[in-house]
């Protein structure tokens, strides 16, 4: 609670001159995007429901994928010090780890992107800001997912 407190009548102004009176009241602070009779009705799709379900389902799978990933990369068998070109090349030689990493890439990216979409919907007040932030998000997501997928499938252990 940072605002000052006073024991006298707090809302009478100090100098005795006020910009505001009964006929010229101060502007009130409206909440962001309030609901009125003109608020548009919904879109009648199930998109939000599927997005919500996807967050839970991908979350469950990610627990396994991410914790497994962290264990292998950072804890077991010498920890981070073992990671090098040869280590990565060795793992991606197996289709199992290729699928693991691919699933983790797609799920984490889509999960994270959808999570950020929620955050943008929450905090970006103006329609334009919201639109452009989402465009930036989707572009970054598509780019990262495609680039990652490309690397996993076209990785060549003999480039050097």
């Amino acid at each position: 609670m940072s605002a000052e407190t006073s024991s006298s009548s707090a809302i009478s102004d100090v100098e005795g001159v006020s910009l505001y009176d009964v006929d010229h009241p101060a502007p009130v602070i409206e909440p962001p995007r309030k609901r009125t009779g003109k608020t548009p009705k919904g879109s009648r799709t199930n998109f939000e429901m599927y997005a919500w379900l996807f967050m839970r389902l991908s979350g469950i799978v990610l627990v396994v994928l991410v914790i497994g990933h962290l264990l292998i990369q950072l804890v077991l068998d010498g920890g981070v010090s073992k990671i090098g070109f040869a280590f990565v090349a060795g793992r991606w030689a197996s289709p199992f780890w290729q699928v693991w990493d691919l699933a983790m890439l797609w799920l984490a990216m889509l999960h994270g992107a959808n999570g950020l979409r929620t955050v943008i919907n929450d905090y970006a007040e103006r329609d334009n800001t919201r639109f452009w932030l989402k465009m930036l998000l989707y572009t970054a997501t598509v780019f990262t997912v495609l680039l990652g997928t490309l690397v996993i499938f076209t990785f060549d252990p003999n480039i050097r």
């Binding site: 605002a3 707090a10 102004d13 909440p31 962001p32 995007r33 609901r35 009125t36 608020t39």
Partner: protein, 255 residues
């Protein structure tokens, strides 16, 4: 307010140990657009029996210290839902909150509920709140001819939505929800509670329509299970649970 007033201003003298009165500070967030565009905290020291309620303290302040203090109340007994306010950072009904329960040793903070336009002191514009309520069609919808006698229902069917019939539309839940604070388009817990009351009523036939409305971008999927609403509800309604039940109904409807 039947308690006689012993002293005028908060100087309960030492030595009168048998008096129930204590001196408590009420720190109230005041706003009057006819004077200033800024809200300010103002302290009021009053002597009051801690077994009284915050509403009694507000009455005492308004009637004895500062008549300009503005707040809503009607029934004063937890029925009408007029006096939801933020007391020490939590949404409560002033008429159901005892002073002894909110640590009167320290100043008691009282401010308007959040997420709605403050019009004066503790009075907010409730229109957006009631708009969301209207939008879920909170009335019985049936098809076919009206029956000649009352619409009967088994005790089990009545029990199914008993919890959500208790709502008094005080807005404590909706105005405690961080999603609602950031985006007033979200229907908010209270509207969903009142949709739940009809969706799970065996006599009602508009459930499908209401589910469709709440399947919207601003509907139940915006709920992040914060549980602020359940904590705020003065009627003890399990608000978050009701929202989850609507989510589940939407999912089982599809799969």
């Amino acid at each position: 307010m039947a308690t006689p007033t012993l002293e005028k201003n908060g100087t309960a003298e030492a030595g009168f140990a048998d008096t129930p009165y204590i001196t408590a500070t009420f720190r109230i967030r005041r706003f009057n657009p006819e004077v200033s565009d800024e809200a300010q905290w103002q302290d009021f020291q009053i002597s009051i029996d801690p077994k009284e309620r915050v509403l009694d303290a507000l009455h005492k302040i308004k009637w004895e210290l500062d008549g300009t203090l503005t707040f809503r109340r009607s029934c004063a007994h937890g029925i009408c839902g007029s006096d939801a306010m933020r007391i020490n950072g939590k949404n409560r009904l002033a008429c159901k909150t005892l002073i002894k329960d909110i640590n009167p040793e320290k100043p008691i903070l009282i401010e308007a509920i959040k997420g709605l336009t403050v019009l004066k002191d503790l009075v907010v514009d409730m229109d957006p709140f009631f708009q969301a309520y209207r939008d879920v069609m909170p009335f019985l919808i049936t098809k076919g001819n009206e029956p000649t006698r009352e619409r009967l229902q088994s005790p089990e069917d009545r029990e199914r939505f008993d919890d959500t019939t208790k709502c008094i539309l005080c807005a404590a839940c909706t105005s405690s929800c961080p999603v609602f604070w950031n985006d007033g388009q979200y229907f908010g817990p209270a509207a969903i509670v009142n949709a739940h009351r009809f969706i799970f009523d065996s006599r009602d036939e508009g459930g499908e329509q209401r589910l469709e409305i709440l399947n919207d971008r601003d509907g139940v999927w915006r709920c992040r299970t914060t549980f602020n609403c359940t904590d705020a509800c003065p009627r003890g309604i399990e608000v978050t649970k009701a929202i989850q039940e609507v989510k589940r109904a939407l999912i089982t409807r599809r799969f």
